[in-house]
């Protein structure tokens, strides 16, 4: 029976294996390979090996600026998500409130509404006649509405709003898994609350911070819709660049090279974070 069981298990795993191979791994591999092919206006690409797509990305200041802005927006988004997400996750794990379930649901709920809904919310909020400008003008702080839409600030604010739940979840798991006795022991031994937080709670939530930051950074770096709608011409990130190259310029090989740069950035950030977290563990010992 064990043998038939194994065969049955393999059979059950066949659909997903085929599905991922055919619709995920094969197409993505092929698309990324295209980055070393030559651009051709009629055939999409010519299967001739070339490094020109990459040299263009490395030496053209236009593309370097895009990489720079992507990194900046993704880093700021990650930082603010952490600054807002940490206290939220902390309170959610520590509260004894009967509303805890509701509070958790309210963190997940915005995530389920989709990116477009939340991006549109910020268009309404930050517009010339929106709540933010309306309040500022009415209170006499400014005379004319500020131009917030179409700036990097608008993009970062909206991305923090959209991606923060991805920071809260791993932080929540990490904080919830901490043994409360550690903090109690430290308290009994006379450590103050600040010291308990900085020497026990915070270091122990390191893996949650790493996980959340990697998630938020990766998703922010790949954003297309939010920068396009809220940043307009002033914000050019890698995601939109790929979008334009594929759908408007029709330069697939260059799009593929830009996509590889995006993947490379994401992998390096994962690598840096994993290294830093491992070093942290060693030092803690």
């Amino acid at each position: 029976m064990q043998e038939t069981g194994r065969g049955f298990g393999a059979a059950l795993l066949t659909p997903i294996t085929l599905f991922y191979l055919v619709f995920l791994i094969a197409p993505i591999s092929f698309f990324l390979v295209m980055s070393v092919f030559k651009y051709d206006a009629f055939l999409l690409y010519k299967p001739v090996l070339t490094g020109e797509n990459f040299t263009r990305l490395l030496f053209d200041s236009y593309y370097r600026a895009i990489v720079g802005q992507t990194l900046k927006v993704a880093a700021l988004t990650t930082l603010f998500s952490l600054l807002l997400g940490y206290p939220l996750a902390y309170v959610l794990t520590r509260t004894q409130s009967a509303w805890r379930g509701v509070l958790l649901f309210l963190v997940i709920a915005p995530l389920m509404t989709g990116i477009i809904v939340r991006t549109y919310g910020w268009i309404v909020l930050l517009g010339a006649q929106g709540l933010v400008n309306g309040t500022l003008v009415a209170s006499g702080i400014i005379d004319r509405p500020l131009k917030i839409l179409g700036t990097e600030t608008a993009v970062v604010v909206a991305l923090v709003h959209i991606l923060m739940p991805y920071m809260v979840f791993p932080l929540f798991s990490g904080l919830a898994a901490q043994d409360p006795n550690l903090e109690r022991a430290a308290s009994t031994l006379g450590a103050g609350r600040a010291r308990i937080f900085f020497e026990i709670t915070l270091p122990l939530s390191r893996s949650g911070i790493v996980m959340g930051s990697v998630l938020v950074f990766t998703l922010a770096a790949g954003a297309v819709v939010t920068p396009a709608l809220l940043g307009g011409k002033n914000v050019q990130m890698l995601g939109q660049t790929i979008y334009d190259l594929v759908l408007h310029t029709l330069n697939w090989p260059l799009a593929s090279a830009v996509a590889l740069v995006l993947v490379f950035l994401q992998l390096s950030i994962i690598f840096v974070y994993l290294r830093s977290s491992r070093r942290g563990v060693v030092r803690a010992r």
């Binding site: 049955f8 059950l12 995920l24 809904v117 006649q129």
Partner: protein
Amino acid sequence: MASSAPAELQTAMRDRSVAGRLGPAALRLLVILIYAFLLGPILIIVVTSFDPTTAGAFPPRGFSLHWYGEFLRSDNFTSAFEFSLYLGVCASICATLIGFVTAYAIVRFLGQKREIGQSLALLPAIVPQILTSISLLLALTFVPFPAFAALLAGHVIICLPFTIAGITASLDGVDAQLEAAALTLGASRLRVLWEVVVPLAAPGILSALIFAFIVSFGDVYIALFLSGPGMTTLPVEIFSYVNWESTPVVAAITSLQVLLILVLGLTVERLVGLRKIMRF
């Protein structure tokens, strides 16, 4: 909401938190502000949708259902809404079927290799969605299969990590001895699956189905590249509309979407809890 439970929250914070020294009020205020930040933009949309003027101004200058009527009169938006519903139903059924057999194999047959299997199953969640989407579009230019199939495949792919996670969690709660008993009594493996496992894991399977629908319905990245004539999803229709103009008709549509998602999300929360599907 946070203010609704002051007593417990206060005690909890006084006991153990760093902010206990700053005063629990400071931390509570911060959390209230964070919730305002999280929910504000969505509530604003709902309020704006009832504004009779074109400006989408806040605060609204009256109350009317004008923009909801406008939505119903717009062929582009209603057909996109219908298409999104249709695609969501197809994608969630496929993702739940594949997710169920995969989750069952992971829980019962992988043994030591379970962790690896689980990580591999989550692969699409790590790949940037824009990459998945463009690659499928590219594949379409070489392999002649229907454009709808590519869009559907893309949606099934982004739903699978959630259905697998949700169903795996609920299968963990199913007693393997019941299956062993049924096998000993002569039931075939398929019959065990259908008559023992499926009924026992039903809440998890149903939740996975609903959550996959939510993921598909809200997706914009996959559909951005794979939408075509006659198959534009609602988020993509909104995206291209907002690119040119912004009237509260979008607020009306997105409010309806929020309502739909809220009802579905609460159902999943009741059935198994959203945390299991979100894996935290």
